[in-house]
Symmetry: C2
Subunit: 194 residues, 2 copies
C-alpha cells in the first residue's frame, strides 16, 4: 500500500533529472522535512505491525533518518551498516558488498557482530530502491548473523528498474511507500497502481 501524502510531495517537490535520477533532496535526503519523516515512520510501523520487529537495520547515510523515525514507532534500536572501501576488515564484523546505482561504486558494508544475532527480528529500512543492491546486501548481513528478516521498507522504489520486483520474487516482504513506474524530465512521474 503506497502513501498518498508522500506521492503528492514527490510530484510537488521532486525533480526528474537525466540518467534516471529523481532528486528529492529538498525534503528527504539532504534537507529533511521532520513532519513527513514522522509520518513515514508511522506508515512503516503500520505496515509491519504485529511482526515482532526488534531492530531496524539501515545503511549510512540517508537511510539513518528514516530508520530513526521508524524505530521511534517500534520502540527498538537502530543499527546502521557502515560503508567502507578498506580491504582489510577485522574479524568481528559481518560484511557484504553493495554497488551504488547513483555513484557507480562498489562499497563493502559492515556491521559489528556484537549487534546482530539470531535473537534479532530485523526490519530493513532505506530511502531509495533502484537496482535493489543495498537491500540485498543488508539482507545478506541478516542471513550471516542468523537473524530473522521480517521485511524491508523503502520510501521510494524506482519500479521501472526492476530491483523491487526481484526482491519480492525472492520472498522478501518489501513495502515501498511510493513506486515510480515511469519518470521523465518532460512527461513527469507516474506511480504504479496499488
Amino acid at each position: 500500500m503506497q502513501m498518498k501524502l508522500l506521492q503528492d510531495r514527490i510530484l510537488k517537490d521532486g525533480q526528474v533529472k537525466e540518467g534516471n535520477i529523481l532528486k528529492v533532496d529538498s525534503f528527504l535526503n539532504h534537507q529533511i522535512d521532520i513532519d513527513l519523516l514522522g509520518r513515514i515512520g508511522e506508515e512503516f510501523s503500520r505496515q509491519f505491525a504485529g511482526s515482532g520487529v526488534n531492530k531496524i537495520l539501515t545503511i549510512e547515510a540517508s537511510g539513518i533518518a528514516i530508520a530513526c523515525a521508524t524505530a521511534v514507532c517500534f520502540h527498538c534500536p537502530i543499527l546502521f551498516a557502515k560503508k567502507t572501501k578498506s580491504l582489510n576488515i577485522a574479524g568481528d564484523v559481518y560484511t557484504s558488498k553493495v554497488e551504488s546505482f547513483t555513484h557507480k561504486t562498489v562499497n563493502d558494508i559492515i556491521v559489528s557482530k556484537s549487534f546482530l544475532g539470531p535473537e534479532d527480528r530485523i526490519l530493513i529500512i532505506d530511502d531509495f530502491l533502484a537496482n535493489g543492491k543495498a537491500i540485498l546486501g543488508l539482507s545478506d548481513l541478516v542471513r550471516q548473523a542468523g537473524a530473522t528478516l521480517i521485511g524491508a521498507g523503502v520510501v521510494i522504489e524506482k519500479g521501472f528498474q526492476g530491483g523491487g520486483d526481484r526482491i519480492r520474487s525472492m520472498g522478501i516482504d518489501l513495502c515501498s511507500l511510493a513506486i515510480v513506474e515511469s519518470m521523465d524530465p518532460v512527461r513527469g512521474i507516474v506511480f504504479r497502481k496499488d
Copy 2:
C-alpha cells in the same frame, strides 16, 4: 550543563581504546538506543530554548540521527552536509574542508545553496567533538550562506583535545552533553566538572 544520564551510559557501555578512541557504538554511532536518542534531542532543545532555531545542520553519517531527534523537538527541518572527495563541485553548493580525527582524511563537505540562506537560524549538531574541525567546517558553511549561527550541540566532547575550548573562545555557543576531561584504557573516563 552536562547530561548525567548520558555520562552514566558512557561509563557503563563506552570503551576506551588506544589512540584516544572512545567507542560508543553500542548506543550512539553504530547501534543507536532510540530512548537515549530522544532524551538527547530534548536536552539540546532545552539548552537552546527560545533562540529561534529554525534549521538543524549536521554532517553525515553519525550526526544525522542526533539531528533528527533534535529537529523533532524544535519542529524544524534538518540539513545534513555531505562528504565528498570530488574536486569538481558544481557552483550551486557551499563547500568547506574538514579533517577527520578518526579517519585521518580530509573531506570536502557540501550543502546545496537552495537550503541554506540569510533567513536561517542554525543549530549545528554532531555526535563527537575532538579537534573541532567538523563544527568549524559547518559554521563556515553557515557564514558563507549569510545565515545566523545560534550555536552548536555535540553529544560527546573530548575536552582534552582542546577543540571545544577553541570553538568557545571564538564566541560560538557550544553545548556538549558530556565532556571527557581524560580517558585511559586502564584508568577509565573522567568527565569535566560543570
